[in-house]
């Protein structure tokens, strides 16, 4: 029994890999709950009127691609569907190009489905700008100046019709922050008081974000891959991320089994010692 406390991690990984592969190939269709935070984000986008300007912030990089890109993709598509105009900024330089590709793919999908998603008119990807919170603070006062008047692709703001309406980042332009750490949400809770804030965060950050939601500083949040799957259910009735949730559940089940086994091994060792 004491050996249970010292299982070779390689066996743990192997069983985990097998357990995750089976439902990926053949999903079981386990039930998926719906968080209030996800509903809040969805209802906010649903309430947008054509022409409303919203901001999105890519505050993540490749390491959080699995959790946050599906969220960004679904949210961005939803905005295009509602006719909202989206301006994307990026607090993480290492994720700026990744975020652009996700938005571009979502815009293509929206176009195929018959929605307007033209670059420059319906959305602009401003991307990463150096200077951290100073630059973000400056965006409120003079957005063009803070961004050197160029977008992620090197286009001049003066050539982009949407940017003619975004000379300042005012509180009537809410922001959805896709955050994997720092810099991330604190930039907005500290410097964007009065702006409606929504967050898509990695699961690890849940304990940090939930108090902000409860205190009203953040209006709604998507939590990791689960949040993306829930958003896909609300938006499309299902989606690529939803199919992965069975594997998530089995993975967690395996971890629970390991915790129980480890504790049995620990207690056995204690009893033997007397």
């Amino acid at each position: 029994m004491e050996k249970l406390e010292n299982i070779d991690p390689r066996w743990v990984y192997l069983v985990m890999a097998i357990l995750l592969t089976i439902p990926i190939l053949k999903p079981v269709g386990l039930a998926l709950g719906m968080d209030e935070g996800t509903k809040a984000v969805y209802n906010w986008v649903e309430s947008l009127k054509p022409g409303d300007i919203v901001f999105g912030d890519v505050a993540y990089a490749g390491g959080s691609d699995a959790e946050l890109s599906p969220q960004l993709s679904a949210w961005f598509y939803h905005c295009m569907k509602k006719g909202a105009k989206v301006v994307m900024v990026a607090q993480w330089n290492t994720g700026a190009s990744l975020g652009y590709k996700v938005c571009q793919a979502a815009a293509e999908k929206a176009k195929k489905d018959g929605y307007s998603a033209e670059y420059g008119t319906d959305w602009v990807y401003v991307g990463w700008k150096a200077g951290g919170t100073t630059t973000w603070r400056q965006m409120q006062v003079d957005f063009w100046n803070a961004c050197a008047e160029t977008d992620h692709l090197g286009n001049k703001f003066s050539d982009l019709p949407l940017m003619q309406r975004v000379k300042q980042w005012t509180p009537d332009m809410p922001v959805m922050i896709f955050s994997a750490g720092s810099p991330g949400v604190p930039t907005y809770t500290n410097y964007f008081v009065g702006w409606p804030l929504y967050v898509g965060n990695v699961a690890v950050q849940a304990a940090e974000i939930v108090p902000l939601v409860r205190s009203g500083q953040v209006k709604g949040n998507l939590l990791g891959m689960t949040g993306a799957a829930q958003y896909e259910v609300l938006l499309w009735g299902g989606g690529p991320t939803v199919k992965k949730m069975d594997a998530q559940s089995l993975g967690h089940l395996w971890i629970i089994v390991l915790i129980v086994l480890g504790n049995i091994g620990y207690i056995s060792k204690l009893r033997k010692k007397g």
Partner: protein, 204 residues
């Protein structure tokens, strides 16, 4: 099953396998993937900064609008590199640090208390229902755990502190569960890529 013929997909797949090979044991393939990632991230950041920030600013503000004070602060920033020069001029690197720290401290002190204070205010709710009462009592016990000065001398603080420790453990357990979710998400994405994009096996 149609295995991809795209070289880019093959490179991605082999890099993924090289990274996961670390789970078996440390090996040269893992090392290669690790070094390649660090080098790529660094070079990408430098190139992105150069083309996305520095050049547009010089073109727009210095050349087109003749706002030459950008040059002054640019030169101040360059003083950072004095650290790599002979000892006599290394002290010059302190000037950009002084400006940055001075500004940074002022900005942080000006706005930082706001966010935690809002959460603190939210913790003091009117006790209108059972949930709020439970929340308030558990909040108190969590605080008691950190009363190191009174400690075991007071039975209230002692018992409360023990309950508080359990409360903290529940919070940490939640964080652990969410961390597992995040890690599984990463693996699922790579697994989907290997099965569908690389090997061409239909999934889901």
């Amino acid at each position: 099953m149609h295995v991809s013929t795209d070289p880019q997909v093959w490179i991605m797949a082999l890099c993924t396998l090289a990274v996961y090979s670390y789970l078996y044991k440390e090996n040269p393939f893992w090392r290669l993937a690790e070094y390649a990632l660090v080098a790529l991230y660094t070079s990408y950041s430098v190139a992105y900064y150069w083309h996305g920030y520095l050049i547009p600013r010089i073109k727009t503000y210095v050349i087109e609008r003749h706002q030459y004070y950008y040059i002054v602060f640019g030169l101040l920033g360059l003083l950072y590199y004095c650290r790599y020069l002979p000892g006599k001029v290394q002290w010059l690197a302190r000037y950009p640090i002084a400006v940055e720290v001075g500004w940074g401290l002022g900005a942080v002190i000006a706005v930082s208390p706001r966010s935690p204070m809002q959460q603190l205010a939210d913790s003091m709710r009117p006790l209108k229902n059972v949930n709020d009462v439970i929340f308030f009592l558990l909040l108190l016990t969590a605080f008691m755990y950190f009363f190191f000065t009174v400690g075991k001398k007071s039975p209230v603080v002692s018992v409360g502190g023990k309950i508080g420790r359990l409360v903290l453990m529940v919070a940490l357990g939640t964080a652990f569960g969410n961390t597992i979710q995040g890690r599984i998400s990463l693996f699922l994405q790579r697994l989907s890529f290997l099965l569908a994009d690389w090997l061409g096996i239909p999934i889901g």
